[in-house]
Symmetry: C2
Amino acid sequence: MVLEMKVMIMGMDGYLGWPLAMHLTMKGHVVCGIDNLSRRRRVAEIGSWSATPIKSPTERLVAFEKEFSKAIGFTFGDLRDVDFTFQVIDDFKPDAIVHLGEIISAPYSMIDVHHCNETMMNNIVSTNNILYAMHKFVPNCHLVKLGTMGEYGTPNIDIPEGFFEIEYHGRKDRLPFPRQAGSWYHQTKVHDTHNIIFACKIWELRSTDIMQGVVHGIRTEEMTSDELLTRFDFDEVWGTALNRFCAQAIIGHELTTYGKGGQTRGYIALRDSIQCLTIAIENPPEKGVYRTFNQFDECYSVIELADHVVKVCDELGTKANAWHIENPRVEAEEHYYNPDHYELYKLGFRPTNTLNDELRITLKELLRWKDRIEAKKNRILPTVYWKK
Amino acid sequence: MVLEMKVMIMGMDGYLGWPLAMHLTMKGHVVCGIDNLSRRRRVAEIGSWSATPIKSPTERLVAFEKEFSKAIGFTFGDLRDVDFTFQVIDDFKPDAIVHLGEIISAPYSMIDVHHCNETMMNNIVSTNNILYAMHKFVPNCHLVKLGTMGEYGTPNIDIPEGFFEIEYHGRKDRLPFPRQAGSWYHQTKVHDTHNIIFACKIWELRSTDIMQGVVHGIRTEEMTSDELLTRFDFDEVWGTALNRFCAQAIIGHELTTYGKGGQTRGYIALRDSIQCLTIAIENPPEKGVYRTFNQFDECYSVIELADHVVKVCDELGTKANAWHIENPRVEAEEHYYNPDHYELYKLGFRPTNTLNDELRITLKELLRWKDRIEAKKNRILPTVYWKK
């Protein structure tokens, strides 16, 4: 039996934010979301849109309340604004803050120096403002911060959860695992990690830093009508590997694997990401404790993902082909990859669907939005190159 | 025989920037400096000033040219401005950029959320703008970036120079040494380090990242007249441990050691810092190489430093006393500390004076500016606390 908690979701309008808000509310928590809707603007900036025709925040909130007779709070505003951030946190006095309010695209951050700086400033300043607000108004609040498995890069050794015990020159210490991120966006998550560790140390805040794998999927159980759908991005800038492949398959576009396709990462379904975030929220660490969860289900290489999509498409009678294109990124295309992920399992995380089961759901749903994907098919092939 | 190089010094108006500009020019290099004079404004902001009465940039440049018949270039501007940064780098086409143009005070960054964000943004954006400018206009240029030994914190193991070979779960890799910085300011240097490593990787830039110890001292050989003095800060915000102790001793103020005083750090004299930076500039790494130098001479605890100052003051007939006050910072006051510093020695670095010899020079010089220190003695005791 978990007590009712007051949870503030920063970035509630996003891919994860909206389904998390619904899920927590249905579990009996009191949710207040914050967003400046910048994701919608930034996706439009590059000439794209969500495959799912998402409603405005107000329409979604009204539809949710009509459907479930429960209310979700929402305040429009920018977390880069210190006064705004202080006020909403002081007013709501959350037990937990889930910080999803960052710019989350590697290619977007690599467009040019302006997008690099914009991503740096947005992510670092918003997180620092939240940390200061917690220190000042809610020192017992639990920060659940979305980081990324991409912070670690692809070292030639096992990847622990955040910290490792090492022996060096005959002496021992427990140290943060070295970060080697592969884009400006991923670097901002590394910077946040360092800043949050420091804040927890000096102010005795509590935080769970989520090193999340790539999220895929489109449906969670609370999406009982089209009014309640979350966004689904598939373009070169905002779409991640697996979701992009699904959208490509739907319109008969070759699946664009970058380079050799041996890049291996951890993946997790949207519904399981929501499950994990809920577990983190409902099981806060002690005061002053900073902890790290590696949040993913299974690891796959890009070419394995493409194979899975091709296979499920076959079942559904759609022909899909994998295609190797020049890799726009600078990354190892063949490498060792063995990250730990014990902490969430210890707290009860159990993945729901197999990859293929989840792909069946995603692909069937996307068939409904084929025209919307078709309309933006010129935004699928990469135009943002790391080397320029 | 070193070839003449074009060196651009970002932050030329600062404590290190000005003596470095003079030294490089006297060695036959062509120097152009950039500064927005924000250090002068920020020191005034907290009600303090330099113990040495420094001249305006123009007066110093004129005095230097009159004295040595050599010119130093200078452009006023802000490195947070992308267009400005691109233009000055494209115009001058430097062989090396020495980046000293950051906000460098731990207490300043800890004043409040605004000073935290200001330090983060200033330092990260200026560095990113320089990296993009190098990539675009001078891809062979060598970035000599000032970091700090404070990036490493005080781990319970030896501190290598930037990277270490480790074995973990039976596999080996060479990884960046974990960073555990102790203030928002120090965190910005950690963020820069990660960003620069990434830029060198994707764009094949070359960079020397200087993890510098605490610099002390007041004189370098080019300061042949008072018009050519560099700044000397001694207040709680801008003054570092040893320089602050010297200023305190001069006005009969107790030497304020924070807490137990067992905090151990690497120290280097101003003249040796300039020697090291010159070595780094004149010995660039290969294209695409990011390297780290731990730049310090000897390690001392705070209480050892105070003892040295008391002893030298005795010789000079001034009575000084060490005093333990509440530590405004959150830091270990007794800890293991054993950082490597081989790389600069391999390239020829030889420390010039003993600590006591350097202290004699500093204390004698400061006696001339006793009235200026006395005038700001109310800005010596700490008012900025990490925990608040």
